[in-house]
Amino acid sequence: MTIALLGDPDDLAIAYLSWLADRRGLEWLLLPEATLGVDWNFSFDEAPGHCELRSGSRSLALSALSGIFVRLSPEPPLPPGLALEGLAHTVFTHERREGLYHLLQSVPCPVVNRPSGGRANASKPLQMAELRAAGFTVPRWVVTNSLEMANAFAAGCPRGVIYKATSGLRSRVRLMDDDLRRRLDEGTSPTVLQEYIPGRDVRVHTVGDRAFATEMVSGGFESITRYRPAAVDRALANRCCDTARAEGLLLAGFDFRVTPDAEWYCLEMNPVPSFLPYEMCSGEPIGEAVLDLFSHGCHKPAPREGHHGYETRPPHALDQTAARS
């Protein structure tokens, strides 16, 4: 069994997976994006199905891979010795990235994650609508750049309103404040306003059919966040797994706000979750679950309506972590 770790070799999740693979005695290949075509390369011919991966002196059929774990850098470096600037740099990195996407969409093994998975995360209103359609409870929201409409929405939310970016770009989540009102008054881009939900924060990671819930406990302003395993309702855990699978994600991170009366509000589903802090502090074996997924290898290409990722096996009993609930 050989697994591939593709993308940014400095990514901690890639380093961690390689360490776990060593502990299991699994063979792994590191495929840095920057050295594609230099230290490693791949080729495939769609007609006769000839697909090959070469790394150093090693050569193997792409079909022999048990799984690929992907972490791509937002600013991938150029190959060693190549100097490009401006448009040429942009075009080159786009071409190379698209070539990798092509590879990841084409290989038959499990990929964590294929680039087509979970794209709605880049449009928060779209993802919130999809999460509601999937059966999750989602806080009320609007997207607006009208001060009048923002005030009207806030008037209907007695617990308060937060605002955040509409796209997938990182932004601070803040309570609606005079700064936002001023910017809306002056004219700004559309912003997500969402009903504030008081409660505790729980992240549910899904890995295939398994779910791992972790509660984040903040000790107060500027203190260190602590993580501890949490119980999650089996039906909700199943819904997370089903939704991630429907979105083509073998690994996903669902963020919940849980109210004092145990209502679980889903805030978002992350297609590239940083699971390491949760695993390191809570001890939940998320990385091991990824390797299990590669070991079991029962993922067959099965196109479905509206998505060209690959179906995972049907859900079965959740693992002990989820079953603790």
Partner: protein
């Protein structure tokens, strides 16, 4: 308010969109036309049920925008990329609102994959559509083959093998291509091969009611363009007429 107001988002010189506007005008329909760079300056309000632009409810949209187009004219240069992402995220969500019909109504997977030709090829192939053969990466290819860059899809001469390896380039035979216009799942002009017709139907099911499908003479799909320009005047006339009729009827029905 006019009997039917279709929102068109397109560049000012977009001939296809101009043709649709003419077709709508012949039917008595009105158009609110916004250029992509001015989207960030519009007042918008989106909820799960409705989308309002400049205070008016949006029902029917002709969306001729690509992810690469600038959307934030008039904003500070260092704010433009962020603003454009925010605007795109809003409109992509809005076009999926149940109360809105749009051509094209891209899903998140398509939009955030850049609407690139290779993306559509892969998606169609995974759904069982026959596609032309390509060789990717460092695989040897004959000298007379062509390279279709992922970013443009426009066939061009082969790069050298080293460059092909570092870019995982997609290369293919120099095949004559037939361009078919696909409008709401039907082929308006071009190939009569059933494979092309099935591709058009699938694209429509995925929200792509307007596309150009380039196929080889046997009907194997080579390239999909979802913001197509049709050089053939009669095909363009047919496409704009069909789209105008559809958008007018849809808008009128949604208003009533």
């Amino acid at each position: 308010m006019p009997s039917a107001e279709v929102v068109v988002v397109a560049q000012a010189d977009d001939e296809l969109a101009l043709g649709v506007r003419q077709a709508l005008g012949r039917l008595g329909g009105a158009v609110a036309w916004y250029r992509p760079p001015e989207l960030a300056g519009l007042s918008v309000h989106l909820s799960e049920q409705e989308f309002h632009v400049e205070g008016r409810a949006v029902r029917t949209v002709l969306w001729r925008v690509s992810p690469e187009m600038p959307l934030a004219e008039g904003f500070r240069e260092d704010d433009r990329a962020f603003t454009a992402a925010e605007v795109a995220a809003t409109w992509i969500a809005a076009l999926k609102t149940t109360g809105i019909s749009a051509i094209n109504r891209f899903d998140a997977e398509a939009w955030y994959s850049g609407l690139r030709p290779q993306y559509w090829r892969n998606r169609l192939a995974a759904a069982g559509i026959a596609v032309t053969a390509i060789r990717v990466g460092s695989h040897p290819v004959p000298d007379d083959w062509l390279w279709s860059p992922y970013t443009t899809g426009e066939p061009c001469p082969l790069p050298d093998p080293k460059a092909r390896a570092v870019m995982a380039s997609a290369c293919h035979r120099a095949t004559p291509l037939v361009t078919s216009a696909a409008v709401r799942g039907r082929i308006v002009g071009g190939s009569r091969e059933s494979n092309v017709g099935r591709a058009a139907a699938l694209l429509d099911a995925w929200g792509v009611g307007l596309a150009a499908i380039d196929s080889d003479p046997g009907g194997r799909v080579h390239r999909i363009r979802v913001l197509p320009v049709f050089d053939n005047a009669s095909v363009r006339e047919q496409v704009t007429s069909d789209l105008g009729r559809y958008l007018y009827d849809d808008c009128t029905a949604r208003r009533s």
